[in-house]
Symmetry: C2
Subunit: 267 residues, 2 copies
């Protein structure tokens, strides 16, 4: 429809250097990958240790200010999970813009968000040409604690519906006061990002293709890999039929994941 | 057999603070989780940016000095993947122990390794009690480039057989000189680590269990999730039957992953 495809600007952080033909900077590609990742890794520097902190969290892209925004529009990342004491303090301080803070600190906690899907094992003639079909994504941005009650509700609905569509509306409502105050949500203002995608089949070297002994003894091919959701297992006290949003989710999830892996393998 | 279960010492880096009943420090648990992760995330600090670098790589635990070591013994992590220019320089410098380096720098590049499996979505009465069954793992250590030819071969065999058992022996042998020189392997000397595992079913609050209206309208239960390998897809030029190590791998992988998710859901 003549719409522009937005891309993240290339910086020292996000530029893909090796196999850059596999890189994508398109917001839509990157945001979809984040939204389809059940876990995102949140990494940040720890001033008290040489090792960065890396925490598994749950995240979805969204815009509280413009909830109707498209997946390919500039969006924030809302994440939920264990907010460590240090993370909590840094992001709170950033919100409060205390005196003596540097400009950098005022923006929030610098975080690197990453996620990957493995779509196939690629078994080549030589061990050195083995590979994966994969989709990996990385985002860079500044995390702050969401303190506005309405924005927090928006984010929790977004994140819950990211697990199973419409799930938020179908749970006990409204949230209790205790639930709202005991739950922390972080908002990451994205500065850049990139995706890297490998699809297709085996890429063998010419000398291996011409090596009769090798071709007569080594099986070469692709083992597609996809995530599967099994039959829903109700609690012992559940009184409700599996609702259509759950059964549709299971069906769609399984079909989409399998089809993606098989299509990617044959590209 | 009276053998001790080795545990990583608790430090400021690896101690699990929230839900510490889910934590494990056992080397065996942690090493098995790493070995069953098709991708590990390698994070390290970037002195030129506020954002840590995070790269997806392939890794396996092993011991070149004591190849017969058990999975629960102290082991190194060998990783393969794109070694960025900075990583390469830092790890090379560390190997060479140049003058003017700090003690810290001599140990290698401090890296945080992480990986996670999602085993189920836990759908509770309240959105706030939703959860995952998951297994996540984190390791801390110092990475150096493997320069010894024999150790590099050991590591590449270990990593290739981590994808599919016996695969290294069943590919074209021996590696060419060009393959060996163009491939980088890093060895991470582990200093500490921990795992965090959630299994079981829905944990609802008492007030939600007693809320008749909620119990009459909200479906509660577990959606198990597991990774599946599809039918092997041979290359157009493949001349070999699917070998038993590949077909056994597909069968075992699918059975083990599904069984783990279903058993964990019912704990």
């Amino acid at each position: 429809m003549g719409r522009h495809t937005l891309e993240y600007p290339k910086t020292g952080d996000n530029t893909v250097r090796r196999h850059n033909e596999r890189a994508s900077y398109a917001l839509e590609t990157i945001h979809r990958l984040i939204n389809s990742s059940q876990i995102v890794n949140v990494a940040f520097t720890n001033p008290e240790s040489p090792f960065p902190v890396v925490l598994p969290m749950i995240g979805q892209m969204g815009s509280f200010d413009r909830p109707s925004a498209d997946i390919g529009d500039p969006l924030d990342l809302y994440i939920h999970g264990y907010v460590s004491a240090r993370m909590f303090n840094v992001t709170r301080t950033a919100e409060k813009k205390e005196e003596g803070q540097t400009e950098e600190e005022k923006k929030g906690l610098p975080v690197t968000i990453s996620a990957s899907h493995v779509d196939a094992l690629i078994l080549a003639t030589s061990g050195f040409n083995h590979s994966y079909n994969y989709r990996s994504v990385v985002l860079f941005g500044y995390a702050t604690l969401v303190e506005d009650e309405e924005e927090k509700k928006y984010a929790l609905e977004l994140i819950t519906n990211g697990l199973v569509p419409e799930r938020w509306q179908k749970t006990r409502q409204p949230p209790t006061k205790a639930e709202m105050t005991s739950t922390s949500v972080l908002k990451v203002r994205i500065t850049s990002g990139s995706a890297k995608i490998r699809d297709g089949g085996v890429l063998d070297d010419k000398h291996d293709l011409q090596n009769e002994e090798a071709q007569n003894s080594v099986w070469t091919g692709v083992l597609p890999i996809y995530s599967t959701v099994g039959e829903p297992i109700p609690t012992s006290y559940n009184k409700v039929e599996v609702p259509s949003n759950v059964s549709d989710f299971v069906k769609d999830y399984n079909a989409e994941n399998k089809e993606y892996a098989l299509t990617a393998a044959k590209k």
